[in-house]
Subunit: 155 residues, 2 copies
DNA sequence: TATATTTGTATCGCAAACGATTTAATCTTT
DNA sequence: AAAGATTAAATCGTTTGCGATACAAATATA
């Protein structure tokens, strides 16, 4: 039996371009985020805090699909930059509640122009607006399926 | 002026699902790659070597869009597992030529079934084959554009 | 030929990711 | 209430990614 060798070609994989796109996107954000003095994963945490206000480490982790072993040091860095506070919950001392500082809240204004700037850089390319929309749709489905296969399936 | 606040909502971003999809894909490969005793980025390097045979660190880096500071330690790990060899080029001593060992070549057979298994797990989902194909097309365009904006534009 | 620049790789340090384990608090069950 | 199970964070060790930097070989230029 001849195994289908072309299956292993880089261009035919779905995994590699996903991996590349993710890294390149992070790079695209870098210049803007440097100005705000935060990294890309830190930006994601801030997005969650701006949108949902104060919440536990666990809740942040669920929204970003990250574990506490990733979040704890990351949150400590954001805390040392004074963008947020970490406090044990009064009602359940196992939980740490993360809340925004004034400075963290203020950062939202500065960040608000970033998404438009990033998306704007696709304007004069071979990718149409409609294409992006359907792409995003499939991407969301993909994430849902992959998430289910992973953590979702382990109950 | 009221900045468009919903721009910063997690669901409306393109960047986060890309980031999540990439991580979840890596996780999906993990069980298969564990059997082969390699990590996901190491798998990508092996893909490149299986497809293009022996080549310099630089060439591997160009194909995977990775720098030598990432590749060198990674290649050393693959070398210590005896999947590949690293040798200075005779004609240009600045280059290190990476080539597969017997063991590295043999691994290809074991890996050949992975892509089908991964793609197979999408069969009974809400994502159709046709959708995946058009998704992959846009993804390739996206990578090309992002790549151009980054390293491509700095000449 | 001597010097400067470019190129290819490697080193270092920091920030993620993540599996495995640990610690402390809470909930269950008796 | 005490014992055991569960849960939330944190800690530890390994592997990536990448900016900054170093260094040696190769090439270009004076």
């Amino acid at each position: 039996m001849d195994k289908n060798i072309t299956d292993l070609y880089l261009e035919n994989q779905l995994c590699f371009p996903l991996y590349a796109a993710s890294r390149l996107t992070t790079k695209a954000y870098a210049p803007y985020l440097n100005n705000l003095n935060i990294t890309y994963p830190q930006y994601l945490v801030m997005l969650v805090l701006w949108q949902y206000k104060e919440q536990s480490v666990n809740e942040i982790g669920e929204r970003l699909m990250l574990e506490s072993n990733t979040l704890t040091p990351l949150l400590k860095r954001l805390e040392s930059k004074e963008f947020l506070l970490r406090n044990r919950s009064k009602t359940d001392e196992r939980s740490v509640i993360v809340s925004l500082t004034e400075k963290g809240n203020a950062l939202k204004e500065e960040a608000s122009s970033i998404p438009t700037k990033i998306m704007g850089s696709f304007k004069d390319t071979s990718i149409s607006e409609a294409e992006i929309i359907s792409f995003k749709e499939t991407l969301h489905k993909l994430v849902a399926v992959l998430d289910q296969k992973n953590s979702g399936g382990k109950i």
